[in-house]
Symmetry: C2
Subunit: 364 residues, 2 copies
Amino acid sequence: MINNNPQDPLAELITTYNELNSSVIEALHEEPSPLEFMRFVARNTPFVIRGGASNWKATQTWSPAYLSEHLGDEPVNVAVTPLGYVLSNADSPTLYEDGTLVFAKPWEESQPFTEFLNYIIQQEKDPSSLQGEVHYAQTQNDNLRDEYASLFNHVQPDISFARIALQQKSPDAINLWIGNSQSTTALHKDNYENIYVQILGKKHFVLLPPHCRPCVNEKLLRPASYKRVVNDDDDPSPLLLSETTGHVLSKLKLELDKIEEASESGHGENSGLVPFATWDPEDDGPSGDYATPYSKLAQPVKVTLEPGDMLYLPAMWYHKVSQSCNPEEGICVAVNYWYDMEFAGPLYPFSAFVRSVYESQQHK
Amino acid sequence: MINNNPQDPLAELITTYNELNSSVIEALHEEPSPLEFMRFVARNTPFVIRGGASNWKATQTWSPAYLSEHLGDEPVNVAVTPLGYVLSNADSPTLYEDGTLVFAKPWEESQPFTEFLNYIIQQEKDPSSLQGEVHYAQTQNDNLRDEYASLFNHVQPDISFARIALQQKSPDAINLWIGNSQSTTALHKDNYENIYVQILGKKHFVLLPPHCRPCVNEKLLRPASYKRVVNDDDDPSPLLLSETTGHVLSKLKLELDKIEEASESGHGENSGLVPFATWDPEDDGPSGDYATPYSKLAQPVKVTLEPGDMLYLPAMWYHKVSQSCNPEEGICVAVNYWYDMEFAGPLYPFSAFVRSVYESQQHK
Ligand SMILES: O=C(O)CCC(=O)C(=O)O
Ligand SMILES: O=C(O)CCC(=O)C(=O)O
């Protein structure tokens, strides 16, 4: 009526946002005040504090030897996934044997800490020397106040500017992440305000704001889980083979999860299917297959964290995370703080609105 | 694809927001800190501070007699519109003689302050005694630091919690509003963070969040202006007549503005037409004609300001404003502070997105 030649509203949203916001992250050199932090929260905009955690005990003392000595053979939970496949990490979209994309969850097992640590260090030095598995300590269940509680007083118990600004007694979860450069976390988003602190090695974040939902090609995927196959030479199901040598790389087998009968015919939230982004903002190649017409409009914010750096990763932002290690260390270690996000106000309903406009467009 | 029976995304947006946000305004009893204020800004959510300005000199000393003495016969700019018509105030959608809705702007004239003041007080006592015009001192051009500068040091030069939180040296505009209960400001929105302070009388605000764009039935209206017709009995154009007595109520005549030739064929922003809300959230009656299918979903926030109360009216919220006077005073006086809003972050692009989704839906 008003505009006879309306633009595509979703394309207009993404480009308007791009015009008004920089895709270069703001870098601070000291902690913001709670008010300064709140201004970023209000804009739902990330920033990095270079060296913000450089004087923490963790940053100053942790090393493979130190951690090994400190934790010894204590059992820790390790996520195990096969090595060397595009899109084949923990909690990520993965090609199943029938050629469909499924949501692959890692095999989880308990390992003595030193064994776990030696594995990832050894792999970092010589990836071909090992059985072709990626090991990542990444339980996002408040593990630093639980499994790794003995390390907890090496970090801040909370991030004071965030605690004060967000009016929360304590973070909802504090998580420790230990892995090597083989571990990548696929693009996803969380309903948390996230303060991410790098301790050893580097983290490479690729960030997209919440309204980039139409770019990420979220699909409803069947959930599947890796299982470790032990001494089962009779098992006829295909194992993962090296693309180059054809050798068995791992005794890990991906199996579809059982979906409750009652919900099998359902849709959306009740179907047991997992909605997950399938586009990889860093891949112009094969997984470019998963680009949508909107993907090319996205202007990702890219930032690499060095040891001691802190990142504010605002609620509902998509993030893909990869890492690289200092060769002398061979491990990457980080700690993050999840604070509850605010569901009142415009952010949450607006993000849901972008999703439903995109989805209702897909039906046409 | 995902949801086979998608809800209307716009309806879903409004109801999701309603579920997560109260339509009862939060009331504080002292000024918030800049951080506390910033939390409301982040949620784009209004609040009121009862008695927040009760110790200002303006609140404590202004009265009709005081203002009259202080300003005397200084000339002030007065907006003049006809009395007694639904939708017939300054800057509001008004029925033109050809039966179409136009955007009516007031006749503006300079009056000696005391004359202006006596007129509105007299009218408040006996509306039928006067020539049927509404007079409102409402120039929104920073008039308290200009026309009324001699009163400026009776109010705070800025609102410190807002100045600090929003990092602005000074408000963009500080406006004085003087009128009586005949003046209503039609539903509209401003790209400003607004702190509104009541000094004399009461203000009744009806507020709608920015995403209620589909409820307000914004239309592109031809601009028109009231002109005062002086001693022109030969003028054949119709004057405004009393609905009950048929008497001439006012020598004000509404004339369509000339629209530049070049833009006459244009659309939207270049057409000279004024986009303006036509739905009145308080009217279930005749102007219920202007309701859209979404209007009934809106849950307006209603708040009445008493003398000394301060309202935070967040950027881009629709507001309709009416007033009632203390009979002994016969005037309503308020001061408001406009601070620049933040265009970075999600609020502005999202609000524009709601508009374009609604408009593209109208084309179908
Ligand atoms: O560090 C990683 O691998 C992922 C981090 C992450 O997804 C998070 O902090 O939410
Ligand atoms: O007080 C009024 O009449 C209207 C106030 C208003 O629209 C504003 O402060 O933006």
